[in-house]
């Protein structure tokens, strides 16, 4: 059984129905606009633990679902 993503409109659905969308976060301490652009484009987060993510329900409502997933366990919190 694959990971289930709870779509608020359609209900729980297998992860294969969704496309992943990273929520890009640039640290506040980077203030220079060019540096922020570089960080946003190349310095992707890879946290060990809870992470905010967006998933697009391609096979259902075709809307974004935002959730928090624990990257250690794949559990959606």
């Amino acid at each position: 059984m694959s990971i289930q993503i709870p779509c608020p409109h359609c209900g729980p659905r297998p992860i294969e129905e969704f496309a992943f969308g990273e929520i890009l976060a640039v640290p506040d301490q980077i203030t220079d606009p060019d540096e922020r652009d570089i960080d946003r484009a190349f310095m992707h987060n890879n946290p060990e633990g809870p992470q905010r993510e967006a998933w697009f329900h391609t096979y259902g409502c075709r809307r974004w679902v935002t959730l928090t997933r624990d990257t250690r366990t794949d559990q959606i919190i």
């Binding site: 729980p12 297998p14 294969e16 096979y59």
Partner: protein
């Protein structure tokens, strides 16, 4: 091979509360694809039932979906083999998700079930119904 037929419809994107209370003709089938999206077949004759309440609503004639009705028993067998997620128990009910790996919308009635897929998938879907 079962043939899916093109569905003539109106696709509406509007404020959810406007869709909640939309006075869609009783004889139409209105499927809530998303909180802010409604699919009505046959196409709406009177679009003001939406536009009067939401001037920013988008209404388009939609011909990009194809569908087929199956008797409930036949549909249940097909879904048991080809659907990973739980079908709602109540009837009538709308549900959507992957069926036979194709994005599918279901309108479930007591006696029959309407399967709707994007028209480019209609042929593949019909083939998978035969498998």
């Amino acid at each position: 091979m079962p043939a899916l037929k093109r569905i003539a419809a109106t696709r509406i994107v509007a404020q959810p509360q406007v869709l909640d209370s939309a006075d869609v003709p009783q004889s139409s089938l209105a499927l809530r694809f998303a909180a802010d999206e409604l699919f009505v077949t046959p196409p709406l004759q009177d679009e003001t039932i939406i536009t009067a309440h939401d001037p920013h609503a988008i209404l388009i004639r939609e011909g990009g979906f194809a569908g087929i009705w199956l008797p409930a028993e036949e549909a249940a067998l097909f879904l048991a083999r080809n659907c990973e997620w739980e079908i709602p128990n109540g009837r009538p009910a709308f549900a959507q998700g992957a069926v036979a790996s194709i994005p599918t919308k279901l309108w479930l009635e007591d006696e029959q079930v309407l399967f709707i897929v994007p028209a480019p998938y209609a042929h593949d879907f019909a083939e998978r119904m035969q498998d």
